[in-house]
Symmetry: C2
Subunit: 317 residues, 2 copies
Amino acid sequence: MKIFVTGGAGFIGSHIVDYLIGRGDDVVIYDNFCTGQEIFIKHHFDNQRFTLIKDDVLNFNALKKAMKDSDFVFHIAGHADVRGGYTDHDIDLKQNFMATQNVLEAMHQLNIKNIAFSSTSSVYGDAILHPTPESYPFEPTSLYGAAKANSENYIYTYAHYYDWNAYIFRFVSWIGERYTHGCIFDFMKKLKADSSHLYMLSDGTPKKSSLYVKDGVNAIFTIIEKSSEKINIYNLGHEEVTTIKNIADIVCDELGLKKVQYTFEGGDKGWMGDNKFVHLSIDKLKQLGWEPTVNIEEGIRRTVRYLKESSFLLNAR
Amino acid sequence: MKIFVTGGAGFIGSHIVDYLIGRGDDVVIYDNFCTGQEIFIKHHFDNQRFTLIKDDVLNFNALKKAMKDSDFVFHIAGHADVRGGYTDHDIDLKQNFMATQNVLEAMHQLNIKNIAFSSTSSVYGDAILHPTPESYPFEPTSLYGAAKANSENYIYTYAHYYDWNAYIFRFVSWIGERYTHGCIFDFMKKLKADSSHLYMLSDGTPKKSSLYVKDGVNAIFTIIEKSSEKINIYNLGHEEVTTIKNIADIVCDELGLKKVQYTFEGGDKGWMGDNKFVHLSIDKLKQLGWEPTVNIEEGIRRTVRYLKESSFLLNAR
């Protein structure tokens, strides 16, 4: 199979590419390197089955040309900064919705009938049901969540119109090797500048799940291989949750910092649009036989160790 | 209050305008007259409280200028041809989603904090739960439904970000005076050309609710006056459903045509993206004290009588 991966040089995309190359597929990465990193994929550069195209999903003609003859599209590219949409109302519209519309339209014009899409727990917003099942309606409290939900709506319709197989994954935060953004990243950057003090955006109480990247990739391919609907929507999460303060404690401990003073700058949400409790039901996914193998604390520790060894990432942003 | 009504010269919009003018509000209609009709609103032309602006919601600068100093926005403008989105993938994106995004952005920039929006039962697609409650997730089978659902996502987020009051109405088909499109319209147009024969797009079995326009307008203002959440999402429908064949029977009977031969050209859906069973739960709305006063058959008969007296509409399209 020839697989097309938008955002294939990014954190999650590059792990998907590793899996696909390992499985023996031909893989085309399409990435604008806005947050993607050459170092995440350069071990494939000598592989004849690997092609890298540096361009933007919003460039429709380039996208369509690159996608030609593909059998399956992983649309993983996106703007992952949930906070930014509050001050910039255009960025999620373009990067997270219009980009998806371009992908769908290119697929339709090229008669490609398989898509996998990285959606988000943010589509549920401040859900009042926990763990939140896939049947919960969209209540997005951020334009990030709204634009991802919009992409899901469009995927649903294109899949219905043209009899595609669609796989929609609603992710909690992913952690682990090649992690490039999120609160662990922010904490480590701040502690690098001042190891005695840590400022947090919230009061430390927001409680969320995280998923270790290799467990996440296994979940993706479990779903693709085992689910049988035309349109398959799955939460990808963890039975555990952890508070932001607890994440900070684990980061400090893994860094060997014993006496960090915390300052809590906000309330029970870290920013406008943040959700104070994110816990997805993973019952549907577990029915396919999948279980997470790494607990959240161990996932956080692996992330910290990775970033310690990859200080170029902390320095770059 | 100064109320801004996009699509205020259209079928539903003009009835809302009548109600608002009757209540004593200042009303600004903003309409591109794509499907709006001057005849629906000209009885207000001498009213000092009435302003008409002919322009397009997609023209952001004109929209923002016209909306200035409004207290409440009814965003009723939209592209209502559900079928058309299958062959033209741009029209719903622009007319039903980007237009809404323009309205929201103009409201935000002008600090207007109240919005009512005409959504649709099509957001539920081929729901497997009937009557379908508001908590059912989006499963749109048409780009019309997807673009309306996208608008809802964006309204939800803007309302959350900026503490707005939002009223989202998911409509079944509306019928009654000033009806300008839909199957009754199509049947009458066909019967006008050949009163002995009626071709139907489906096998006649699709089963749907309809709502008489004056009951619908009463529902809208019942919700706005009585509901108490910041974001209020309501189905607007009817406890009755009727098949497409039954609608044809009533149309023919009301026209005095006794021996029309039916030809069923399709299957259990009239077109790609159509839904064979649309029946919304109206329990939430009934809890506010609202009930429909006109049954579906009577609503169809009134629609036929109106179109008989308004043959310019049948001739125009």
